[in-house]
Amino acid sequence: MNGSADRMRRAFIWSWTGAVIVFMYLPAVSLLLASSTSSRYFIFPVTKWGFDWWQKTFASLEVHQLFKTSLVIALCVTAVAVVIALFGALAFARYEWKGRSIYQKIVLLPIFFPQTVLGLALLLWFNALGFTMSWQTAVFAHLVWIIPVCTLVISIQVYSFDPALEEAAFDLGATRWQVFREVTLPVLFPGIFSGALFAFLLSWGNFPLSLYTTGADTTLPEYLYAKMIAGYTPGVPVLGTVSTIGAAFLLIGSYGLILAMRRARQSATE
């Protein structure tokens, strides 16, 4: 009696979980299906299967340029965001100081700005200051929105950091710089790493901020949008799929990297 009720409950939980996963991933799968057609148009069900569009897309010089622009922007954003966000997170969660609670609110506010409005506002500012829009201005625009997110992600790690660790290192004769390099940085590393991942992925997939601030340069999401508005080819779902799979590999790969590092450290010390 009890066992069957238990089985029922478990079956329900599993099927519910499965339904949620299908719901979340079905769009990505349909993207893959849409890309694997030989016809010119977006028709479901797919009548003629084929990978012609994958070939064409990978051969395209334009697409290479898109990837390069997106990648350069995302890498620059990651590098700058992590440095600023690390110190921002220390101020956010490590130190008690006057005005901290106001700072905590101000630093998080940009996350809640509608990104299209933020993009437009930044465009107006760049114009007023006489900048020409390019991928560099886009980097700056991304930073405005991504640094707060990154700060928040790293802060979570900083909250669980025992300040006595720094004091102990200092008490044992380390200089301020040695304390930072030998204790603070390595202990906070998992948080910094997730912050970097977030920064990269959020920049890589960003559309609204790029739309206003890249000028003559084009990022992948911008290109996809433009192609969907006018001139759709199955190259669009191909790029969409590649971009999604790339992000997934980055996530899984870095998780694997962290596991490998942890295992290497353990086998080195055991």
């Binding site: 025992d162 660790l165 008490d171 004769g173 200089t175 030998e182 202990v187 010390t269």
Partner: protein
């Protein structure tokens, strides 16, 4: 005390805003002694310790290390080291790497570092195989030893301890207290320890300083603190004591207004007018008739607590709670709510001021 003081505090004061955490402390620490500062939370003992280690700077007064003023020297420049309450072991490093930390900071050769770490591990009874063990996988007692080894590797003139045993369960704590005292003997270094537990201080210390509200209220050997507390605060801090408010009415005679009776006490110090009579639970006993002891009160047996080798009885005289303690072998066979007489002799009590 013989020898030159290793550390001297002169009018040491620390003020936070309009709160005086440490108030005008004068104290000498002798070379090689185990000194414990005891006080309840908020008494300023942690602030005092942080000033001694250089993690907090004095508002006024001086700290002299072997006669040299070190007030403004930061923690990393002082030849002293602290074992933290949380131990603050570096979680990303192995036992060996933790112990070697200070040597690495000094740029000591890795092989020399390792040799020194192994030497300290041997001294602290940590197995050699632990050298590469992850510190987060060590037990409470092992972590304690790693923290101590890490501090000793720094070769400090003085070792400070900020209640490192407070988070450990009772049985292990008792073992570690003795172990720490043994290590003190083996290293011969000056240990300055803070705790809120006078019991812990008693076990380990050569001398104890009791703090209250930023002031040092009494300094003495564990024996002196136990047998001759000067204030009600210190006497109550020791543990269960019976305290009666009294006024002096003669050379050996006191008035206890609460019980409308006179009490005998030897000696009543000259100049004592009013204060408290402290009677330890083990000095109180159950008596058959009022004449058996110098002082006697009638009460009712309220409850009985068995504490292993000893038994305590709560006796209520009116609303006043008395604790009587006996060895288990001599347990008193009374029942709850029995009328009992409790008594003590004129020599069996201590007079203290507020």
């Amino acid at each position: 005390m013989a020898g030159t003081p290793i550390l001297q505090l002169r009018n040491l004061t620390k003020v936070f805003g309009n709160f005086t955490a440490v108030n005008d402390i004068d104290l000498d620490f002798e070379e090689g002694e185990f000194f414990t500062i005891v006080g309840p939370s908020g008494s300023g003992k942690t602030t005092l310790l942080r000033m001694l280690t250089g993690m907090e700077f004095a508002s006024s007064g001086d700290i002299l290390l072997r006669g040299q003023r070190i007030n403004d020297l930061p923690a990393n420049k002082r030849p002293t080291c602290m074992v933290f309450q949380s131990l603050a072991l570096f979680p990303h490093r192995s036992v060996g790497q933790n112990i070697e930390f200070s040597l690495k900071m000094k740029g000591v050769d890795p092989a020399v570092r390792k040799a020194r770490a192994l030497e300290l591990m041997l001294q602290l009874r940590l197995p050699e195989t632990y050298y590469s063990k992850n510190v987060t996988k060590c037990s409470g007692g092992e972590r304690q030893r790693v923290a101590l080894a890490r501090a000793l590797a720094y070769e400090p003139d003085i070792l400070f301890f900020d209640e490192p045993l407070s988070a450990i369960d009772y049985k292990l704590r008792k073992t570690l207290e003795k172990e720490l005292k043994d290590i003190h003997r083996e290293t011969g270094k000056t240990f300055i320890y803070i705790t809120h537990s006078l019991e812990e201080a008693m076990v380990m210390s050569d001398r104890i300083g009791v703090m209250r509200a930023g002031k040092l209220v009494q300094v003495g050997s564990p024996q002196e603190i136990y047998s001759a507390p000067q204030t009600k605060f210190v006497s109550e801090f020791i543990g269960d004591v019976n305290v009666i408010a009294v006024t002096a009415i003669g050379a050996a005679s006191l008035r206890a207004a609460e019980f409308a009776t006179n009490l005998k006490c030897l000696p009543v110090p000259a100049g004592f007018t009013a204060g408290y009579l402290v009677v330890r639970p083990e000095s109180l006993r159950f008596v058959g008739s009022p004449g058996e002891t110098d002082n006697c009160l009638e009460g009712r047996l309220y409850n009985e607590y068995v504490l292993g080798s000893r038994v305590q009885y709560q006796v209520r005289v009116g609303d006043h709670v008395f604790i009587v303690e006996k060895l288990r072998q001599q347990a008193f066979g009374g029942h709850r709510d029995d009328k009992v007489l409790i008594g003590w002799d004129a020599e069996g009590s201590i007079l203290v001021t507020d």
